[in-house]
Amino acid sequence: MESFETFEYDVLVIGSGGAGLRAVIAAREAGCTVGVVCKSLLGKAHTVMAEGGVAAALGNMTNPDGTKENDSWKVHFVDTMKGGAFLNNWRTVEIFTKEAPERVLELEQYGAVFDRTPEGLIAERPFGGHKYRRLNHVGDRTGLEIIRTLQDKAVGVGMTVHMETTCTRLLTENGRVTGAFGYYRDTGNYVVFKAKSVILATGGWGRMYKFTSNSWEGTGDGLMMAYEAGAELLDLEMIQFHPTGMIWPPGMRGILVTEGVRGEGGILRNSKGERFMFNPKYMPDLYKGQFAETEEEASRWLEDKQNNRRPPELLPRDVVARAIYREVQDGNGCEHGGVHLDVTHRGEAYIKRKLPSMYEQFHAMGGVDITKEPMEVYPTVHYTMGGLYVHPETCETSIPGLFAAGEVAAGLHGANRLGGNSLSDIIVFGKRAGEHAAAFAADHAFGAINDEQIAEEQDYLTEPLRASSGESPYVIHQELQETMQTNAMIAKTEQTLLTALTKIQELQQRAKNIKVAGDRYFNPGWHAARDVRFMLRTSEIIVRCALERQESRGAQWRLDYPNREDATWGKVNLIACKNGDEVKIVRRPLPEMPAELKALFEEGK
């Protein structure tokens, strides 16, 4: 075994996105020593890329008649459950909607500077699936504001930051987590973090798809580290395809166009110029009667939200993504195979004020002036609703001492996440994870570090460097992306999924024989060799779960099982866990929602 350095913390946080940083603050305020590890530099996690806003029912917005919009946690609860097609854990959603407003206001106390209403309060914008204006925002750079605010606050409370350090394995003793093992990105040297409790805040995994809004970090390491250590994973089939990714130019394909564009009145049209979201065939029963039925009503809504209903462009993401997919399949696609998203009617000044980074993104990198011409968009892989099973109150995973928060955790979003709910997810559950990990640390001594596990991981990591010949990890990654993009995208069938599975299994065999050139000193090829092996396993589980769930619900759209089966599939989550070399998948009944919460769905009607 090669030598390594060791750091000791009461609480180790893996990930410095919003969830990780909020957890740092909470654990620190509870008196713990805290170390935080991240693959990139501080402040560069996915959280920084979030645009549209953070959802919390502050009820700040005023109607034309001077009354306030009637928003509350209850309405947010109903919207989130409906948006998630009732696969969410009701208790997680209840905690979330109740605590989100407090957490957002707390950001303001930490120094965040949100856009203001005329009354001087935090401005809230409409978003898909949210009944009222509820996305607290800063133009279209809300994520930047949030991550920088939390970063500054965390620096203020005191932590030790290990930047550009990648964890690849959780260390355990008798089933309890005792630390983590990783390597430094620049030198390739090894490091061990010994901790009383560990929080995974490693974000989502979109990189196994060809077109995604995710960065190089989105390879699912945290998920797979926990899986290898025996944790339960929940509903991995639920991957969000964001309806509006850039499709042209090819260099920009997959990059996100914020839902804020539709929130600010953006209109979707097909090549025939039809505003297709008005086509009744796209309107789910659950939402009938709640959206504008004429274009006139939709345009009146821009100025008067009290007396008009929302435009159907603001249906939940799964619905809009499917509609775009079908328009293109039906031959109504535009020049490059997408549809048009037009916001020109809002005028140049308004667009530049409310959507400045979208303007800049299209102008500088896409050669399109969005104040004068429409954008062309197509769904892109964006978010993972599934993830680690966590306890709704404590964020503890099924492994003692291991906590998880943010996109890597599951339960809140069900089968489809509403826009803006992730930025509030990370602050609500980041805080809870930090508090409960601190409580665990207070009750437990350090566990033992198992050298065998370390030696094994070192061996696994260096295999591709030692190999005398073999394939490039990039080739395997590319083939994985092709098959996932073709066979496990928006619309799936048993046949496409089996094709994907066969291919993944073939790639898993080939991945045993990877060769990378060079040494361990800042060598992206070497990093890719580990990442791709994480991604292959993640993809396998995604596909197996999608095969297992024989219905269509939220993001899971099975052409061979087009209906939502509430009586059967609507009552179960899919749990995946490691069983030797196999993936074991079981169905677990969803907890029953209490009567007083059920009643909220009647009130809203």
């Binding site: 120094g111 800063v138 620049d186 960065s215 370390i454 590319q478 800042f522 992206p524």
Partner: protein, 273 residues
């Protein structure tokens, strides 16, 4: 197929050279795409940083034809078929190829005391008009690409990292100093260790800022004025103290810079294994 020619710096602390690569051109290609293409198909060891590929994270900073820029925001079309030179930021120690050690920036940031909310604004929602936050929002657009740090001659040519926090941190301090809820007087720090006086207003930083923050005009000059007011205008100080001029709402500098946060350096852990 049309090609793009790049001359990319390859090397580490011990030295290096420019290496020429050709990659097939795709519509809408940015320099970062070309670098990734090389990484995937020609040399998997080429080191670079990136995250968002949408000019939002500030990771992919480099010097392109000698100019500090984001690789993901620089279209290859701009160069009209001429070879494009890509090198690392020169103001920071080189790690490998296009990657430099920028940890100094994070260490200086940790010295800046965080926001302390005025007692009358504590614990309740802020009531602020948009016009009152416009200026602060401009500073808060910073994506920490450190291109301004890279171009500033105080840091780049004179390597006075010991005496000047650099334009990025001036933007950050301005964001706190002009935050309507902040109660700390940051001028002593600005004048002393942050070294606002080192800046001689060349405006090079403003020119390279990908977020179009008017660093010099809107952040540094107002900070310089505030420091000058405090230190060199005793009359105003006197008038303020006897109530002729309005009193400053801000409390005097009463916070110690944070010492608890560490940017961990390699080799500082215990030996194990």
């Amino acid at each position: 197929m049309e090609k793009v020619t790049l001359r990319v710096f390859r090397g580490d602390k011990t030295g290096g050279e420019m290496v020429t690569y050709e990659v097939p051109k795709v519509p809408g290609m940015v320099v970062l795409d070309a670098i990734h293409q090389i990484q995937k198909e020609q040399d998997t060891t080429l080191a670079c940083r990136w995250n968002c590929k949408a000019a939002k994270c500030g990771s992919c900073s480099a010097e392109i034809d000698g100019k500090p820029r984001l690789m993901c925001k620089t279209s290859v079309d701009e160069f009209n078929g001429q070879p494009i030179t890509v090198g690392p930021m020169r103001a920071f120690p080189l790690l490998r190829d296009l990657v430099t050690d920028v940890s100094w920036n994070f260490k200086m940031a940790a010295k800046i005391p965080p926001l302390q909310v005025l007692p009358e604004m504590e614990g309740k929602p802020f009531v602020l008009q948009q016009v009152d936050v416009d200026r602060v929002q401009e500073y808060r657009k910073c994506i920490e690409c450190f291109l301004c740090q890279d171009v500033c001659h105080v840091i780049r040519e004179h390597n006075r990292k010991d005496a000047f926090f650099g334009p990025r941190q001036m933007v950050r301090i301005a964001g706190l100093e002009m935050h309507p809820a902040d109660r700390i007087n940051r001028r002593e720090q600005l004048k002393a260790e942050a070294g606002v006086g080192m800046c001689n207003i060349t405006k090079c930083c403003t020119e390279v800022c990908p977020e179009h923050i008017r660093i010099t005009d809107n952040a540094i000059i107002p900070l310089k004025e505030r420091v000058a007011d405090d230190y060199y205008d005793p009359v105003a100080g006197l008038l303020r103290s006897i109530g002729v001029l309005p009193r400053e709402k801000k409390a005097p500098f009463n916070s110690v810079p944070n010492e608890q946060t560490k940017i961990a350096a390699q080799g500082t852990g215990k030996k194990g294994g």
